[in-house]
Amino acid sequence: MSTTVPVTAKNSVAKKQTPEFVQLLDPDGHRLSDELYDPWVSDVTGDQLASLYEDLIIVRRIDAEATALQRQGELGLWPPLFGQEAAQVGSARTLRPDDFVFSSYRENAVAYCRGVKLPDLLRVWRGTAASGWNPFEVGMATPAIIIGAQTLHATGYALGCKYDGVDSVAVAYFGDGATSEGDVNEAMVFAASFAAPVIFFCQNNQWAISEPVGLQAQRPIADRAPGFGIPSIRVDGNDVLAVMAATRSALDRARNGAGPTFIEAVTYRRGPHTTSDDPSRYINPVVAKEWEARDPIARVEAYLRAEGVLTDALAASIQSRADQVAADFRAGCLALENPQPLSVFDNVYATEHTELSRQRSQYTAYLEGFDND
């Protein structure tokens, strides 16, 4: 199939005029028309949408595998992205290799799209390393765990791109909780003042651990950005096509010197904050059920089946590929080597200083004492 993903007589429904909420695929898989955002995805073919569908299936599958690995004692912790696949895949798949991502810890689908080797996603959670990969090989910094800190890094990186005269863009991923942090607000001030080519990509997954988004914001989060002088887009974060369109429009602005854009991708964290969390203490199951009906994968599947792109055979082969990726992911996890004891001293500095070398030397002697026993 090489047809694009257009609004056709067969699949279209009349769209309510809600410019404040971009949606191109509704939860039932209907393609909605949108004058402003349709042009940004007019080139996306049915096959390309099927490829995004495969990404969604795979990242959901590896996310489930990582949760299982944690339950089996192979990981200390895991922050599931279940429910947020479209927000992450739709945005990350629009980036160029020379763009640079600064994310939080739940963006494992973004990392997957950037080309991070799968076992590298697990090093931190298995405790074998302080981070998983070389940021410069994949154009993505290793995650910041301090909430919101990375938004400033993205802004500074974007400023550097501007000074270098290149049209690369920095993308900061963060959640609804992070928008209350000073760093995020400072990042928006800096980005606006210097017209930095940065995208503030907020996944509003409705929860900051147990705190509902209503505790962070009394209005839609996207409404905050214009106060900083940053245009914002509120997009259905469970609609991979809409997320892609919104991100492409923001990238275009950034590449053309128009500065930062804020995207609020409205989604829902269907799993716990991390494997240590117990959402049954605070979620409303009725609301959770409503979000289940807005699942990011089901709508793409419905659309692709209606269009005849997705057959049972293709669906089965994608699922089988996802299972294989998950099996490799698990094997890669179990093969991660524990670090050597003395590596605890490595890389504190680019040039190690004498006092640290002294501690290293003394601890070496201490450890060698056990060999002599």
Binding site: F100, F102, A129, A130, S131, N134, P135, F136, A141, T142, A144, I146, A149, T151, L152, H153, A154, T155, G156, Y157, A158, L159, G160, C161, Y163, D164, A170, G182, D183, E186, A187, V189, F190, S193, D346, N347, V348, Y349, A350, T351, H353, T354, E355, L356
Partner: protein, 334 residues
């Protein structure tokens, strides 16, 4: 060789760094047209442009965090924190990001930031303008912390800090900004990690740094009149501390007095006393003595003379190590 104030020597160091390396950028509040509240960056924006000498919004976390992003992009940022007491909003970015990124990324990401901080009291300022927060940073693995006491060191150490591939907290003794001295831009400088024996002596080792080095030298001169020979060490680097130089001195004198403006508990003096006791125990003739600010918030200007160590308090500490009559003779905690 030119005679410069310490502030001008810092400015000439920044100018050389900007000239020598295109990747050096300055970020801070009021560092552009104004030239900084202490005029350290005077004229730099006019000569190097607004993209290299950047007036930032008023947000310290923003300054440091943006510099982190610039470092990711290959830049070598020099951040100015306007006053010591303003650094705390940037504390998280410094200790949780700047200090840890090289370790976190197994050396893949370097953080060659220099964070300049005018510090210390003695200028009759209001609250938050006279603090000495160096111990917080000396305690943080991944940072280097240095301070200067002369115009030549101000110039040379600042350039070395900027060229350093590790993050450096560069503390500037603000009450010494107007101290004059000869500066040779091309001098072969003592590495910033090394302490300097400023005056040799045989009876007591007096360790100081930054704003109190001048006071320590005055104390040594006064003691000499009294027949006591004091060896004065300018520590220069606070993380790491050059314990080899201090140890060599204490092995010679057998007595150690440490003086700094910062509060006593958990300060550099405690670290130096502990380490020197460990390394020089059998050479010590007396317990090490700390002459420091008291464990109180920095007081109002009219009280700062009762907070800051001065010549007399330092000499009183020297007397304690010599077993001479001193202010604690006959004093009892009960």
């Amino acid at each position: 060789m030119t005679e410069l104030t310490l502030a001008k020597a810092l400015g000439s160091g920044l100018r050389r760094a900007l000239s020598d390396d295109d990747k050096v950028v300055l970020l801070g509040e009021d560092i552009g047209a104004l030239g900084g509240v202490f005029r350290v960056t005077d004229g730099l924006q006019a000569d190097f442009g607004k993209d290299r000498v950047i007036d930032t919004p008023l947000a310290e976390a923003g300054i440091i965090g943006t510099a982190v992003g610039l470092a990711f992009r290959g830049y070598r940022p020099v951040c100015e924190i306007q006053f010591d007491g303003f650094i705390y909003p940037g504390f998280d970015q410094i200790v949780a990001q700047v200090a840890k990124l090289h370790y976190r990324t197994a050396g893949k990401v370097r953080m060659p930031l220099t964070i300049r901080v005018p510090y210390g009291g003695g200028i009759g300022a209001v609250e938050h303008h006279s603090e000495s927060p160096e111990a917080y940073f000396a305690h943080t693995a991944g940072l280097r912390v240095v301070t200067c006491s002369t115009p030549q060191d101000a110039h040379s150490m600042l350039r070395e800090a900027i060229a350093c591939d590790d993050p450096v907290l560069f503390f500037e003794p603000k009450r010494r900004y107007w101290t004059k001295g000869e500066v040779d831009e091309d001098a072969t400088a003592l590495p910033m990690g090394k302490a300097r024996v400023v005056v040799e002596g045989s009876d007591v080792t007096l360790v100081s740094y930054g704003p109190l080095v001048g006071t320590a030298l005055d104390a040594a001169a006064a003691a000499a009149d009294d027949g006591v020979s004091i060896e004065v060490i300018d520590l220069r680097s606070l993380a790491p501390v050059d314990f080899d130089t201090v140890s060599a001195s204490v092995r010679k004198t057998g007595r150690l007095v440490i003086t700094h403006e910062a509060q006593q508990s958990g300060g550099l003096g405690a670290e130096i006393a502990a380490t020197l006791t460990d390394r020089c125990f059998f050479y010590l003739e007396a317990a090490p003595v700390r002459i420091t600010g008291f464990d109180v918030p920095y007081p109002p200007a009219k009280l700062e003379e009762h907070f800051l160590p001065d010549l007399d308090r330092i000499l009183d500490g020297v007397d304690r190590t010599l077993g001479r009559v001193n202010s604690l003779t006959g004093w009892s905690a009960s």
